[in-house]
């Protein structure tokens, strides 16, 4: 027993899990602030301003509010499903951070199948949505969950194909290898050699995280709040955090796959990674506050009629290219 506990790998993973949780928590706070400030400025208003200098302490106020609220369950809701759903939603996202190479040293566990791990575990979120939708004993939640499932399942496929194209070009499913393969300068990044894949990846990333314009499952003006209508307090907070954590994961993955990861023209390191990741997050937030919502059948149409063929063609072309050259 002791031999298992004190192996280097095991300690490394435990440390990684703790630091990932800390990272996600810290970034969640930053993202909450960033989203509200950006939303404000896009909408010609200052955003949070009162709490702390220019609202910098606002996330703490938000967190405090969410923690302090009463947790209750609607009448007739299924207790097990209802309370498990936010936990399942949040905890699984943490697993997704393990293969991501923040810098050569700061990789939780260098896996040969890092990409596969991420794609596999990303689907667990659907389970959480279903549990929330059904367990709430609310027809609106059910509708939201049904939409979310269809959307997530549909958009995973082009995502997979886009990511596979990069894996083909690099020759490995190991994320660290993908990053090593790219250079520091922007023209050496994979986004230049695989622009279609990047575009498809980013659109699918926005759809997978249920962000506008693909936020039908949480469509505030149609379904009140979709699958998390009945949640309050920290249960809602966990869904909220899970969404931001997922955003961070997809942007981190996008940075590693397409934007050169931690490599930069000078002084390569984790700060480049974070800068690029935040650039992608900024674009995601910008898109949310600019565009209206896509209708559900149109959303699936975009997927089946546009993204899937494009990513397939891209994959074939990449495979051909790799084979010939």
């Amino acid at each position: 027993m002791l031999k298992i506990i004190f192996t280097e790998d095991f300690i490394r993973i435990v440390l990684a899990a703790v630091s990932v949780m800390a990272f996600v928590g810290a970034n969640g706070l930053v993202l909450v602030y960033m989203e509200r400030k950006l939303a404000g400025h896009i909408q010609r208003r200052p955003g949070p301003y009162e709490v702390g200098w220019h609202g910098l302490l606002q996330p703490f106020a938000d967190a405090g509010k969410l923690v302090g609220k009463q947790l209750f369950m609607p009448d007739g809701a299924d207790a097990l499903l209802y309370w498990l759903a936010p936990l399942v939603s949040f905890l699984w996202v943490l697993v997704l951070f393990i293969p991501i190479p923040f810098s050569p040293l700061l990789t939780a566990y260098d896996m040969d199948l890092g990409l596969v791990l991420i794609l596999a575990f990303a689907g667990i979120n659907l389970l959480a949505l279903c549990m929330a939708g059904w367990g709430s004993n609310n027809k609106w939640s059910l509708l939201g969950a049904a939409r979310a499932v269809a959307q997530s399942v549909a958009y995973e496929i082009p995502l997979l194909l886009a990511v596979l194209a990069v894996a083909f070009a690099t020759g490995s499913l190991n994320l660290s290898t993908v990053v090593q393969d790219q250079g520091g300068w922007p023209w050496q990044w994979n986004v230049i050699t695989q622009p279609l894949a990047f575009m498809v990846y980013f659109i699918c990333a926005v759809a997978e995280t249920n962000r506008a314009p693909f936020d039908l499952p949480e469509a505030e003006s149609e379904l009140t709040a979709g699958f998390h209508t009945e949640y309050s307090g920290m249960a809602f907070g966990l869904f909220f955090l899970a969404e931001y954590a997922k955003m961070i994961v997809v942007c981190a993955l996008g940075t590693a796959l397409f934007l050169g990861g931690w490599k930069g023209p000078l002084f390569s390191g984790v700060w480049w990674f974070l800068a690029k990741m935040y650039l992608l997050l900024f674009v995601m937030i910008w898109i949310r506050w600019t565009y209206p919502r896509v209708r559900f059948d149109q959303l699936l149409n975009i997927n089946w009629k546009w993204l899937l063929p494009i990513s397939l063609v891209n994959l074939m072309a990449t495979a051909l290219f790799v084979k010939i050259f």
Partner: protein
């Protein structure tokens, strides 16, 4: 979660149980509202859904019913003015005009020319404010969170202008039989003259960023196709009718005030869908600015209220009258019957949103839930006007 499957176990009030009696197999009965982010006001729509498709819809009204028509019979003609601001508070001056128009027609009261111009200026400003509110909230329903902020910024300027002359920001009771309550303040016309180019400069931005947006186009085109024949059967008027190809406007059909002297077009679109209604309202914003230009340039000096205007306990001559005005939502009608006493015998308020909403049940069978939200937004409903 057995409601949709076992008919005997439908829980709900009289309307839900009644609606559920016609339920088909394997469908979900869902209440949209009366508390819902996108039914503007307290509107309740009972839906029978098969997946995402609506099989049947039934609006249930009455959540904001205040019985204005009974209030009319218990108040004098002047005491009833504030009610008109509350019927449709988004275009309160339209209702103001319909009511004072009816009283003036009944009593044979003249209106001074300056007052007519003041009425046009304030009513058109109110119409712009109403359309801006519609625009912002419609896009909010469709998921775009930003345009409402811009719309309300422009609307704030109008509300400030109208407040300086009438004293209220929203529920105006500014008109009086025989004119308007107060004369214009010194800086009113300056403010209006500054506002007109400001909004003219904003409209291209709204068009480029929102109207031409492909996502919006896909949410509005081919959605809620409403034929002219259906408009006739339900009495739909206003932009709903003009979006179906017929340029009918009460200001041209039954001219009142100084509208016959002003030049403006009546925009209409032949597409009959939500996009058509959207484009009609955006074009109307331009036309309102044209009317404002002319009215501000042509306003004469004079009185704001005719001498001998009805005093508080004025008795109208016996008889009945019907007066229609063009509101932001359609034809506002007031059917006033007097028995010669100081309070009306009957005051029937014809609300455009009432007729516009009555076609929703027929329009919404077989559409997607998201389209229902888009259609309700494109009809520009204000529930207090429907429920009165």
């Amino acid at each position: 979660m057995q409601d949709g499957l076992n008919k005997e176990q439908i829980s709900g009030d009289a309307y839900t149980t009644r609606f559920a009696q016609g339920q088909s197999e394997d469908t979900l009965i869902l209440n949209m509202g009366p508390q819902h982010p996108s039914t503007h006001g307290v509107l309740r729509v009972i839906l029978e859904l098969e997946g995402e498709y609506i099989l049947r819809a039934e609006p249930v009204l009455g959540y904001l019913h205040r019985m204005h028509e009974a209030m009319a019979e218990n108040r004098t003609y002047l005491q009833y003015m504030p009610n008109m601001g509350r019927v449709d508070y988004v275009h309160a001056l339209g209702w103001n005009w319909a009511y004072v128009g009816a009283v003036e027609r009944l009593g044979g009261i003249e209106v001074p020319r300056r007052a007519e111009f003041i009425r046009v200026i304030t009513c058109e400003l109110n119409r712009i404010a109403s359309h801006l509110l519609w625009w912002g909230t419609y896009l909010l329903d469709l998921g775009a969170f930003t345009p409402i902020m811009y719309a309300f910024e422009d609307r704030e300027r109008i509300l400030d202008i109208l407040q300086s002359v009438s004293g209220s920001r929203l529920t105006y009771s500014f008109f009086r039989p025989g004119g308007v309550a107060f004369d214009l303040t010194d800086d009113f016309l300056t403010e209006v003259r500054a506002f007109i180019p400001h909004l003219r400069n904003r409209l291209p931005m709204y068009r480029a960023l929102v109207t031409d947006n492909i996502i919006l186009r896909h949410r509005c085109e081919k959605v809620g196709e409403l034929s002219l024949e259906m408009c006739r059967r339900y009495g739909a008027t206003g932009p709903v009718l003009r979006g179906s190809g017929l340029p009918y406007d009460v200001r041209r059909a039954e001219p009142y005030g100084v509208y016959p002297e002003l030049t403006f077009e009546i925009p209409s679109e032949a597409s009959c869908d939500a996009m058509g209604r959207y484009l009609v309202r955006m074009a109307e914003l331009e036309q309102c600015l044209n009317i404002l230009d002319q009215a501000v340039a042509g306003i004469p000096e004079g009185e704001h209220l005719i001498k001998g205007a009805p005093k508080p306990r004025w008795k109208a001559p016996t008889g009945e009258t019907y007066f229609a005005a063009e509101g932001a939502r359609g034809k506002i009608g007031v059917h006033l019957v007097s028995d010669g006493s100081a309070t009306p015998y009957r005051c029937k308020l014809r609300s455009p949103s009432f007729s516009n909403l009555s076609l929703f049940a027929e329009l919404s069978s077989g559409i997607l839930l998201s389209d229902a939200v888009s259609i309700l937004g494109s009809l520009d409903l204000v529930i207090p006007e429907i429920d009165r």
